[in-house]
Amino acid sequence: MSRPSTRHSATLIAGCVTAGLIALLALVSLLWVPYAPDDTSGGRLAGPGGGHLLGTDKLGRDLFTQLMTGSRIAFEAGLGSVLIAAAIGITLGVLAAFTRGWLDDTLAALLDILIAFPTLLLAMLVVAARSATLASAVLAIGLAQSAVVGRLVRILVKRVLAQDYITAARTSGTSWPRIVAGHVLPNIWPTLVVNLALQFGLAILAEAGLSYLGLGAPPPNASWGRMLQEAQATFTTAPAGALAPGILLVMLVIGVNLIADGLRDTLDPAARGRR
């Protein structure tokens, strides 16, 4: 393993470039889009060209505009979900790691059950309780992912707690909060950050799936999943509507995953050998 670092940074750079392009699109969409999202002045299912880079949808709305808005929604979904997942997951995981015996087992089993409970069905429940908005989707995805994060944090923290220096710190009278802040968190964060980056990609996919089923961001702010669903029936006659969001979605998820891989190599020395 003589030249790992260059290859690793290449992964990181490739990921940053891919995801960065889409991030740029999302940022630009905040300041400028070719048409207003609810401008229906284009013709029904117009083909690419004629003032519409990718053509228009059924209502005559510009597809490129929707694609740009969609990239923003994808980032909102990813960030929002990961924040929720991190907040709840870390709390639960640390708590579980510090408890022992049956309480620990119960928390572990609870996390396992939660993990097995699909995001989609959680989302249906959240939508049933609130209404179908991006916030509901993000909440559901974040909750589902908090179980995954919690499970990981529990393992990581347990591993750290078993180390000798923790025992040393405890015998020297250091308080638990200080142990957590001083020893546990610094030791687990590299692995945690990598996992959260992976969750970011998964959250974007999950939001697309929810929107595909009509449980995601409401119109007129089309998310990519909603675009895919609408374009599904007109795939043969107007393929741009189905291809463009699909490609961007795959690009963004791969980009984020590459960043996660790259981060693992730079941040997590223990895992360096793996890549």
Binding site: A108, D112, G209, V250, V253, N257
Partner: protein
């Protein structure tokens, strides 16, 4: 080991009991009214109240809970608010689609992912190692409904080799048709599942390849194959089994998108309909059965891990946890 199994079983039962209480309470906290699913535009308020009364959703919660627990104790999952069909047989019918679907996809995914993941790690410096890794990256990023659409277009609409969806009404009484209708759904799930499994297997293999004991074993003169078999496999298997257990459990209900794309009457779609209609007996029944399945799978995974790795035997819950 026998004592461990007993303890683990007791734990399983307690978890199940806890889960069913939590489930019941959470569901009833959700806003929503099962009577709405029975209502049509034009219904008078008295009709809606009558609907609530006839399904019993207007009774006090403790009473409803006692009723449900009483039924459960006698092995009855209750009756659907909406269809009036007993939930137990219905869940059973859905399981006859979902369990074969999940198991077949799972086995196929493992058959693809274990060798591919191992190769991706062991031959990571070669072009095909990189290719395998790249393909798995792509596989993770493709939405499952999109993959389903493509497979249907190629194999059902253009090729005409396989049905585009549906499941024979008489189910496994028509084995050939039942199997044909599961081919594409199984392939869809297996492809998506193996993409993420490949990465786990690859990472577990890399851990083992870089470990001291493997180097020691080889230095002591074991052949690579022998060292890998005696030490590597065992060590790599423990975390992988834990992941496999979770994948298997989450596919039981998580196949709902695939079931929708392929119009399969599976457990996930029963639950989805139940949630949309606020049909509590159905939701409770499905979730009770799937919670039981999750716990059993976790149980099996723990036992398996202990058989593989005796070092874990002192601990109650799974090694890779």
């Amino acid at each position: 080991m026998a004592r461990y199994i007993l303890r683990r079983l007791a734990f399983l039962l307690v978890s199940l009991a806890l889960a069913s209480v939590v489930l019941f309470v959470l569901l009833r906290l959700l806003p929503g009214d099962p009577a709405n699913a029975l209502t049509s535009v034009g219904a008078a308020p008295e009709q809606i109240a009558a609907a609530r009364h006839s399904i019993g959703s207007d009774r006090p919660l403790p009473e409803q809970f006692a009723h449900w627990i009483g039924q459960l104790a006698s092995g009855d999952l209750g009756t659907s608010f909406i269809s009036s069909l007993p939930v137990g047989p219905e869940v059973g019918a859905r399981l006859r689609v979902t369990v074969p679907l999940t198991l077949a996809a799972f086995v196929l995914a493992v058959l693809i992912a274990v060798p591919a993941g191992f190769l991706a790690a062991y031959k990571r410096r070669t072009w095909y190692g990189a290719l395998l890794n790249g393909v798995s990256q792509l596989g993770i990023a493709v939405p499952v409904f999109w993959l389903g659409m493509v497979l249907i277009a190629v194999f059902a609409l253009n090729g005409g080799w396989l049905p585009a969806g549906g499941f024979p009404q008489d189910g496994w009484a028509e084995p050939a048709e039942a199997m044909r209708s599961l081919v594409l759904p199984v392939a869809t799930i297996a492809l998506v599942m193996s993409a993420s499994l490949i990465r786990y297997v690859r990472s577990a293999t890399l851990d083992v390849l870089g470990s001291d004991y493997l180097r020691t074993a080889r230095a002591l003169g074991s052949s690579f194959g022998r060292a890998m078999w005696r030490h590597g496999l065992r060590n790599a298997a423990v975390p992988v089994i834990s992941i496999l257990g979770i994948e298997l459990a989450s596919t039981l209900l998580g196949a709902v998108v695939v079931e929708s794309v392929y119009a399969l009457p599976g457990l996930g779609s029963l639950l989805a309909t139940g949630i949309a209609q606020h049909d509590y007996p159905v939701i409770q029944g499905v979730l009770f059965v799937s919670t039981l399945a999750v716990l059993l799978i976790g149980f099996a995974a723990d036992i398996l891990q202990r058989i593989i790795d005796p070092r874990l035997r002192g601990r109650l819950s799974g090694g890779a946890r």
